[in-house]
Symmetry: C2
Subunit: 685 residues, 2 copies
């Protein structure tokens, strides 16, 4: 017996025995936990080695984010201990603000739960997945729960501890053994202990490597690591200044989709369309809101009355109206000085020859999301010369260790012709070779990672171009250093020959002719014909004092007046220590010294001390000289045009460029790829 | 006024104004829809071009899966139409079993909803994300809903249509305009129409390329594509046989974690631990369950009473007990013949010279998941000779177009030394160069993709090794073809010289000496000293008849007896058509012909016809000869040792290997990299 409704249903949906019905029986919802449990590789937990690293990474990223949000200089402790075979105990403890008791279970025991997902600002974690996934996989691997301890920053706060596992069927935490305790000697902070299957490796892609690189790009953090062999590694902080906190911003109108607008309109507190545009977006003023409505041919109306067609028109109109670029205080760059300082503190043991002046580019926008790129290059010393250049890939201050081939940073490095900058490279593209380390940091409110494991940055044209620009500037600085070193080396060899052979010849001739040995200084000057700048420095690590001296020799035939210029780390300058030849220094640390009337074959010197933790970031070889035709100068660069301060005019006598200098000039021209080499004349002495 | 409880809470959690409390205020749950909306790149929707492709891919994958599950030969129609600027209408229609009315909204309007997530068997889609994400992004882009039509396979079924959007806040479908209709001329099937922002591109990584490659590896599917320029592309099916349906299996005990076991024990229907092991896993018999319990030192107990420690012991014990590899009927390989047929049907226009015999490897297991690898190589013809070899990467019959650099298939190809197999390669690793296309298909119940966009297979040692093995076998076949071609070319040149010059010399000498022109056939035989196999074929595409003839010339000094061998596509063999020299053929199509007592300087021939759609998959140049020392044979390979059927013994006269043959033998040895070249003697004629 069928009711009408049943009959209709049968007609509607065919016989119950149909294949479509059989297929329908198996259809059901999948929980997000089950999804990630089955797709470990998306979160980066696809091998024993990687799992061990990923857990540490997720916990340390969270610790650093929490400390910075609470204006605390991070002090992070990491311990990885082998229990047996492939079982490891992992501990991460921080001095962050702690987590309030009732939020602890969700933070550690629920995927997609967090505070930063909807915030438009730079942070390491964003999705609320990482640490919960670590707890989940540890539990799947070993059946054991994670142990969490946390104490918040209230004056008389009690600490809490509890054991957490995730119920993967419903993505919710299961808490056991919850109890308060007194955490001796701890003002505030969080500690997570968990057990997991893993494999500890050294070298590339190791936990040590990750923590080392983290220390480089987080010079305000102290990180202590007890490795499974019982060895302690300590990365001291290189600065006591916290990075400028990134601010949360409203979405920028550019790059929005029709559906985004519709969704925002449903949720808006604003009454009218115009008020919505003005108040729910950044960079929209009254006037611009007006312009957008005009261009879209939409009259202002109640927010609730806006149609899909209106939204389509507004999205189109936004592209035609001039709107300021997204503001950029949502980003927190490391900064040029701190990149150098971070590299120096951590790479100390490698003793590189040269730290090229790091570059922090101005922020740009990619798909409406602000981003900026920073780059640094380290060269020479103990860095292996005959292998591929190492690339430190950093995203929002987090080092990336896996999937280099899929990453926009690697692709940008490989797209450049590094032979122009003094590195080896087969065929002018691909990985460069040589004793160098390249660091690239991409900071953004939204890094487009290729997967949730955050292993590589997806290729985006705007990001690619900015990386290339930053690297070029950095590489030019390296090239100029290498040129200077090369030229100086050659001239030095000539110098030694002239200074050895000429006096010997003179003394022999004088002896044979029975006449007094002549004064050769003018002759030697004539042959060398150069103003020689010789930087020297010594560093007292204990007292953090760097003593710098520039000896300037006038090996030319004329009297010389000139200025010396250098960019000093401002924090390290004690102005009373600057010598009396000192002229002035601006806010950026650009300092100038004036040296007048140096007679031929005499020398003068400029000395100063730098003090404090930034003292060692100064490279004395980055020095500039004005007032003398650069063709006569050895050991210093000509003052760059964008210096902002006028150097000294070149004096009359320099217009008479000597033969030797002419040759030098040609070399310089050849370096720029735009000069043809003329036959150099032999010196007639 | 505080209650006791309130006071405790305050003490527990510190002052309400603490930073920890401020941070806690922002913590909330994120819906999976919002997560993917913000992380488009994980699903592959990160650019306009890619979005357009991804939508088509997700819909077509679903159509093919549905048809195969319902034993229907797929007939899929795809239309991409430009509306304006970057707006496109996309349509995908199939002849699948249809979807029951009440399931349509969830299938198209809810992420993580589907029927295949928990099933251990090979399928294209698995997570229930792809098509819903396509609907979601289309809606975000344009504000428009997707239009779905579906009719199921009941005899008097009415078709249903409806509009669907996703409520991203809660991950649920919103349905409008739902109504029944009569779908004229349609027995069953589903059609989805949606509008999206996109950019249509041709060439690599295009929709055309994806559909073309899909047709190659799904030779049972017919695919019709109307492109935005109004051009129709039809990929006809190459076979009317559906692939063997993959079966769902129980999980294999190897590769399980402690947590997996605990979870399975919670859900099991079994009463005891032993029954659980035996019935909830594959490959565990009564005896093996017993062995596992013994090795784990756990006595059988109630399933509910099993502890974490028991699970730890059982996981360890599983590795010590011998258990059969996972069964493999959960996989559905394409098969060697159909790979060739698929390539031929689709690459017809390229007219390659040679289709190397494809290889289907036996299934293996990676982390407890069965997988198998298939490979094919196509060579020569109109394939560009001076560029990188194209690699067709296929996973579970779905072509992969993006992220080649991150993919295990690319890495395996680049790890091999292709110079050994006749392709160019700088330095013996990296991308090979030459006129070739390499196809690799990885089939598994669980492909470890690097991201949910399913663009690349994550690197896994077992999978890597199997890909390399499959490629080596395939490449050896290519190399042998190239060797044969090369040798034949050289011998052919010699033949022509001998046959032109000798008779001319003989006739001139005879004239000068005034004597009759001698018979040179024996002399020529002596110089050539070879059994020459000349394959010829013609193909009648209309009637699908391939006529094959082998002419075998005995250019040696002795009478010869031998057997000819070839592997025929069994479906194409009409045994009555085999010539009277035919001896036998086995189930694999390995066929043998016997040819006795061929006098010197005479020839014999073997002819047969192949009929039907598989006829053209036979390469006549893949022919083998036994009974003659291979050093005397030109144009056929020696019978491989693993042929399974005995060839003819080599007769006495062949032990007297002539000079010329000796030289050939050395060449063959040199090809194997293990022979040293001796000084070849000059022929004394």
């Amino acid at each position: 017996m069928h009711s009408d409704k049943d009959t209709i249903k049968d007609v509607d949906e065919g016989g119950k025995g149909s294949i479509a019905h059989k297929l329908a029986e198996n259809m059901k919802e999948i929980s997000i936990t089950e999804f990630f449990e089955k797709n470990k590789q998306i979160l980066g937990f696809d091998s024993r080695t990687k799992s061990l690293l990923m857990g540490v990474k997720e916990a340390v990223d969270n610790s650093l984010d929490a400390c910075e949000e609470a204006d605390i200089l991070p002090d992070v402790y990491v311990k990885v201990e082998k229990v047996n075979d492939d079982d490891y105990n992992v501990t991460i403890e921080d001095n962050g603000p702690g987590i309030v008791r009732k939020k602890i279970p969700d933070v550690f025991g629920r995927l997609l739960y967090g505070s930063r997902f909807h915030a438009l600002r730079q942070s390491r974690g964003q999705q609320g997945i990482g640490i919960s996934a670590t707890v989940m996989f540890g539990n799947i691997n070993t059946g054991k729960p994670a142990h969490i301890k946390s104490k918040i920053d209230g004056t008389d706060a009690v600490a809490w501890k509890m054991d957490i596992v995730i119920d993967t069927k419903i993505n919710r935490p299961i808490v056991t053994n919850e109890q308060p305790f007194t955490w001796e000697g701890k003002a505030h902070g969080t500690r997570v202990d968990y057990c997991t299957k893993g494999e500890y490796r050294k070298g590339k892609q190791s936990i040590y490597e990750y923590l080392k690189n983290t220390a480089i790009v987080n010079p305000h953090a102290k990180i202590t690591f007890d490795d499974p062999e019982g060895k302690r590694h300590t990365f001291e902080r290189a600065t006591d200044t916290l990075p400028v906190k990134s601010k949360e911003i409203k979405p920028h109108p550019q790059g929005r989709e029709v559906g985004d607008l519709q969704k925002m309109l449903q949720l808006t507190q604003q009454k009218t369309l115009k008020a919505f545009l003005k108040n729910d977006f950044s960079r929209i003023t009254d006037r611009i809101a007006e312009e957008i409505l005009q261009a879209a041919k939409v009259t202002d109306k109640k927010a609730a009355a806006v149609t899909r067609e209106d939204c389509v028109a507004i999205v189109k109109a936004i592209d035609t109206v001039k709107i300021m670029a997204p503001q950029t205080d949502c980003l927190s760059p490391i900064g040029e000085t701190l990149i150098k300082k971070g590299l120096m503190t951590v790479l100390e043991g490698l003793r590189p020859d040269y730290y090229a002046q790091p570059v922090t580019r101005s922020p740009r926008s990619a798909n409406g999301n602000p981003f900026l790129v920073e780059a640094g290059i380290v060269y020479g010393g103990d860095i292996p010369a005959d292998s591929e250049v190492s690339i430190l890939r950093i995203a929002n201050r987090v080092p990336l260790l896996y999937q280099p081939g899929a990453c926009a940073i690697t692709k940008a490095v490989e797209s450049m012709d590094w032979r122009r900058y003094g590195l080896d490279q087969r065929g002018g593209s691909g990985k460069p070779f040589g004793p160098a380390i390249i660091l690239v940091h991409v900071a953004s409110t939204k890094i487009p990672f290729t997967s949730e494991g955050k292993e590589a940055i997806a290729n985006n044209e705007d990001i690619h171009n900015e990386i290339v620009q930053a690297l070029r500037l950095c590489a030019r600085n390296l090239k100029s250093h290498l040129n200077k070193k090369d030229k100086k080396g050659k001239t030095h060899a000539k110098f030694e020959i002239v200074q050895q052979i000429l006096p010997e010849m003179a003394s022999k001739s004088a002896k044979m002719l029975n006449r007094p040995v002549p004064d050769l200084s003018r002759t030697i000057s004539k042959i060398m014909n150069v103003v020689w700048v010789e930087p020297k420095s010594s560093y007292d690590g204990k007292n953090k004092i760097k003593k710098v001296t520039y000896n300037v020799y006038n090996y030319t035939r004329a009297e010389r007046s000139f200025r010396l210029h250098a960019i000093l780390p401002r924090e390290a300058v004690n102005e009373t220590l600057l010598s009396d030849r000192f002229l002035n220094m601006n806010d950026e640390g650009k300092a100038n010294w004036e040296i007048l009337s140096v007679p031929p074959f005499t020398s003068v010197s400029v000395s100063f001390d730098l003090v404090g933790s930034m003292a060692d970031t100064f490279s004395e070889s980055d020095v500039y000289l004005s007032g003398v035709n650069s063709a006569f100068v050895m050991g210093a660069d000509p003052l760059p045009g964008d210096w902002g301060i006028k150097g000294m005019e070149i004096t009359e006598s320099d217009t008479d460029v000597p033969d030797e200098a002419e040759e030098e000039e040609e070399e310089a021209a050849a370096d720029d790829d735009d000069g043809k080499r003329k036959g150099g004349k032999e010196d007639d002495e």
